[in-house]
């Protein structure tokens, strides 16, 4: 047994559990309301925490007086987060928090905190670069080839400006936690104990981060999370509220404190997808070949200026280009990773500019995208062409597409548009422990989290496959920092990480079991296999032991680790990165009301080996629906006059509803060459191109580009008015 075990996935025709679609294992708990999210925890003696936040876009805190709040009924602790002199560069900035016996008392107390502000000049809008003044930070210029000459030589030149709104994560479970900090008898904090139920995408990273901030060793911090109500990239750290909540608990003598952001605060400070604007010129030949690209891009990720992503997206080998990017310091909450960070904006800018170029050249954009796929990374050129054709077939492109503006004779115009996506998503570092007990029971232990992606189900499927057991014979424990550590769930890295570590741990454990029972079966360990809850000799099915009988021969339980360090060269072929996708939107636009209606949306997605097709499809549906929501409805609306965020609530920060999404067709590109690549994460890749595809479809329908998303009726009507002027 000195050789490295064979961890590779079973060949397709031997898989019994992988590739099947059992229901998500925690489905009944969730759909019956029995699932306890962190925000549902009500430990004994719990206090309710609440923040006071800054009402101004930009202000300096002159003074704060918490005396009356401290004396308010029911108040057990008041924590000042922003001391006098603090600059507060966005509305919603955390000033102080109180903890009280009831939530109502906490509300009353927060109102009694007296704060004097010195209001500072603000900038809250960035759609016009010329108005950014000193808030703009030039990011320098990048030149490839000779763009000036290529522009002169071009047969077709297309220019456009495109804008991409700030949208917020709007996780339905707000950011926050229930936390209990029980002080010990050592002033250094060495004997303090903290128990925290966070809403986090990174359970195993939580204790170290919180511990550093509150000076309690991570060994004394218990982190527990069974369910999380959405993250989408915004919930990776304990955040300021984790630290403030803990401090409130300590101040209150160790009573647990529930501190979750109110919806308005959530929408102001708990993360957003940054804006991106671009003036883009695309030049090329009459046949649709692009030869040059210029880009002046700007945008904002909040007070720290972050420039928008580079251009062009995917088609990075366009031979001649000039790109300038500028970040703008805005008085708005900070950006956070938002489901394929950077890629959505990049895809939107690129795909809109290509569609406009195709129109200018008088070509079918499908052909122009395929032709210019020559500029995609070499290994992906054929994949994009295949996927574009597949998407076109499913969307009935050849029948339904028409040149721009010829969307029918009535007032409702139909149109179609294309978007393309890329994402890496290699697995994150992950450790898993597989335990086989002498009674045949099996547990898999891994400090991961299931964001609703189906991680629990996937891990269990992988273990059941290795052991030849049914799903209900495998007990899975996650979301508990006593378990082996697993990375944060971001960047579509979870499935690659957990499936690799789980496969390795279960193969290692099974090898131990084989070694233990081989003599009884008159075979060598390498002659054994685990199938249908039996350990049997390959080729001799009658020489077998039931799983339980085999385990009873153990003198002690088997406990084996599987580790994966997150590097491509160490995946043992189980996982990889690099997914591509092509999507087509089919919309109808009412030219009298400006309302855009989704007819059909086709998503073709390359995803490597699929462990659970049903859950994989759900991921794509979800990504597309979220994308439709941002393409048509979502926008953080700021008022430059007052500096106010005008819609920090779910009434006016609009999410797509069940009637807004049309029909969605998902095609998983699971050709054998993709299956062989191993597992690839799927949370982000299909979320990338929706804004592009929908914007292109609307331009195709009404004959003019609506320059900014979301494509709200007022913007659609304004674009029509400009066209008709």
């Amino acid at each position: 047994m000195a050789n490295t075990p064979d961890y590779s996935w079973p060949p397709e025709d031997k898989r019994k559990v992988i590739g099947t679609s059992p229901q998500r294992l925690d489905g009944p708990q969730k759909s019956s309301g029995r699932a306890k999210y962190s925000s549902d925890m009500n430990p004994k003696g719990m206090l309710f925490g609440l923040y006071l936040t800054s009402p101004y876009a930009y202000a300096r805190l002159k003074s704060i007086d918490t005396g009356e709040a401290e004396r308010s009924p029911g108040v057990r602790a008041v924590h000042v987060a922003a001391k006098a002199g603090t600059e507060m560069p966005w509305q919603g900035f955390e000033i102080a928090a109180v903890a009280a016996d009831t939530e109502e008392q906490a509300r009353d107390a927060v109102r009694k905190i007296k704060v004097e502000y010195e209001v500072l000049p603000h900038l809250v809008k960035d759609d016009d670069l010329a108005k950014a003044g000193t808030r703009a930070r030039q990011g320098g210029e990048t030149v490839t080839g000779d763009p000036d000459q290529a522009m002169k030589d071009a047969e077709v030149v297309s220019e456009g400006q495109y804008g991409f709104a700030v949208v917020t994560h709007c996780c339905l479970e707000p950011h926050g936690q229930v936390v209990q900090w029980v002080p010990g008898n050592d002033p250094s904090g060495a004997n303090d104990h903290v128990t925290v139920w966070p809403s986090t995408q990174n359970v195993s990273g939580y204790a170290g981060s919180l511990g550093t901030n509150i000076k309690v060793p991570a060994t004394n911090i218990k982190v527990r999370m069974d369910y999380i109500g959405g993250g989408f990239g915004s919930k990776f750290t304990p955040d300021a509220w984790g630290v403030v909540g803990a401090n409130l608990s300590k101040q209150a003598g160790g009573r647990p404190v529930k501190l979750y952001l109110e919806r308005s605060t959530e929408l102001m400070i708990a993360g957003n997808r940054p804006s991106a604007y671009g003036k883009i010129t695309v030049a090329g030949k009459k046949d649709g070949t692009i030869t040059a690209w210029t880009y002046q891009g700007w945008g904002s990720g909040g007070f720290t200026p972050v420039p928008p992503p580079d251009q062009p997206y995917i088609f990075t080998r366009v031979p001649n280009s000039r790109r300038n990017r500028t970040g703008i310091a805005l008085n708005g909450g900070s950006q956070r990773a938002w489901r394929a960070p950077g890629n959505q904006a990049a895809s939107f800018l690129t795909c809109c500019a290509i569609e406009d170029f195709a129109h200018k050249a008088g070509k079918d954009p499908l052909e122009v995208f395929k032709l210019n796929a020559q500029y995609a990374p070499e290994a992906r050129v054929d994949t994009y062409r295949f996927q574009l054709d597949k998407a076109a077939e499913l969307a009935e492109w050849k029948t339904l597409w028409h040149p721009r503006g010829e969307g029918g004779g009535g007032t409702v115009k139909r149109g179609m548009g294309i978007g393309v996506a890329a994402w890496n998503g290699l697995g994150h570092a992950s450790q898993c422990r597989a335990v086989i007990n002498t009674d045949g029971s099996v547990s898999i232990e891994i400090d991961s989290q299931d964001l609703g992606t189906g991680t629990k189900t996937i891990i269990t499927q992988v273990a059941a496959e290795t052991f030849g057991l049914a799903l209900n014979q495998v007990k899975l424990v996650i979301g508990n920092n006593d378990l082996p550590p697993d990375g944060g769930s971001g960047g579509s890295t979870t499935v690659g990480g957990v499936s690799t570590s789980t496969r390795k741990a279960t193969v290692n454990a099974l090898d131990k079991l084989f070694a233990a029972v081989a003599p009884d079966l008159g075979a060598t360990p390498d002659q054994l296999e685990a199938v249908d809850a039996h350990i049997r000799v390959k080729g001799s099915p009658n020489k077998s032991l039931t799983w339980v009988a085999a385990c009873r021969k153990l003198t002690s339980s088997i406990s084996e680790m599987g580790t994966y360090n997150g590097r491509q060269q160490d995946t043992a072929g189980l996982a990889t990165g690099g997914a591509a996708g092509a999507q087509i939107a089919d919309v109808s636009v009412d030219t009298e009301t400006g309302i855009v209606k989704m007819n059909r949306y086709v998503a073709v997605q390359d995803c490597g080996m699929v462990i659970n097709p049903r859950l994989a499809e759900s991921q794509v549906y979800g990504a597309v629906i979220m994308g439709i929501s941002t393409a048509l409805f979502e926008e953080r609306i700021m008022d430059q006059e007052t500096g106010k965020y005008l819609n920090p609530d779910m009434e006016f920060y609009k999410l797509a509803g069940i009637a807004d999404i049309g029909n969605i067709v998902v095609h998983m590109d699971i050709r054998p060459e993709n299956d062989k690549r191993g597992v690839i994460g799927l949370g982000e890749p299909p979320a990338v191109p929706i804004c592009a595809a929908v914007s292109n479809a609307v331009a195709n329908a009404i004959g003019v580009r609506v320059p900014q998303i979301p494509l709200t009726p007022d913007r659609v009507l304004a674009a029509l008015e400009r066209r008709n002027a």
Binding site: R24, D26, R34, E104, L172, I228, Y621, I625
Partner: protein, 211 residues
């Protein structure tokens, strides 16, 4: 918390502000509100009517067929009463202003946003929450079967809204479901599964109990 000791006779706040005072003020000072029929019951009842609050008062709610007692301020919503006072956490607080439906319960058989219903006003009414349904009720089971949930935070609200909807529309099409459940929002994007789940649940409930 002196008022907790004697919920029948809540202590008046020092400011003298009370609901009755507020209503009087509206009647005298505001031509806009005073004549529009807003708060008609309270306005009519104001002279001599018992004032409740603002301190905690004893209430009895009938939840899932059982009387439940709690002491809470009159401003406490039904949602907060359930989540903060009764440890009934199936209904979620998401928008807290009657937009998203994550807090949906049934009151006298109708879907209601519990975040915009005062607990004190829900007394004497039949309140049904997701905790009153079996884990495997037809709607919840159909949500599992069609994967109409991801993070699951909106799901209990959807399930309760679907129960309310199906009582009035026992044979819905997917288009009917879109119309009937448009008062609930999901962030993960599970609507494809939800549509199918509700139609299937309707079929499963034919001739049987309504959950």
């Amino acid at each position: 918390m002196s008022s907790k000791k004697d919920p029948e006779l809540p202590v008046q706040p020092k400011s003298g502000f009370s609901r009755r005072g507020f209503i009087r003020g509206v009647g005298i000072g505001s031509g806009v509100l005073g004549t529009t029929g807003l708060l008609p019951k309270e306005a009519a009842a104001a002279p001599g009517a018992a004032v409740v609050g603002p301190g905690p008062v004893a209430m009895t709610l009938t939840i899932n067929g059982k009387p439940v007692n709690l002491t809470a301020e009159p401003r406490v919503t039904l949602l907060d009463a359930m989540r903060n006072y009764l440890d009934l956490t199936g209904a979620k607080r998401v928008c807290d202003r009657g937009t998203c439906g994550a807090c949906t319960v049934l009151i006298n058989g109708k879907s209601v946003y519990s975040c915009t219903t005062l607990a004190i006003d829900a007394q004497g009414k039949k309140i049904e929450t997701i905790e009153g349904l079996p884990v495997n009720n037809p709607v919840s089971a159909a949500f599992v079967n069609h994967d109409g949930q991801q993070c699951g935070y909106c799901t209990p609200g959807f399930v309760m809204a679907a129960h309310g909807f199906l009582r009035e529309h026992p044979n819905p099409t997917e288009a009917d479901v879109e119309h009937g459940l448009c008062g609930n929002l999901c962030r993960c994007g599970t609507y494809m599964g939800v549509r199918k789940a509700v139609v299937e649940a309707a079929k499963g409930m034919k001739g049987g109990s309504n959950g």
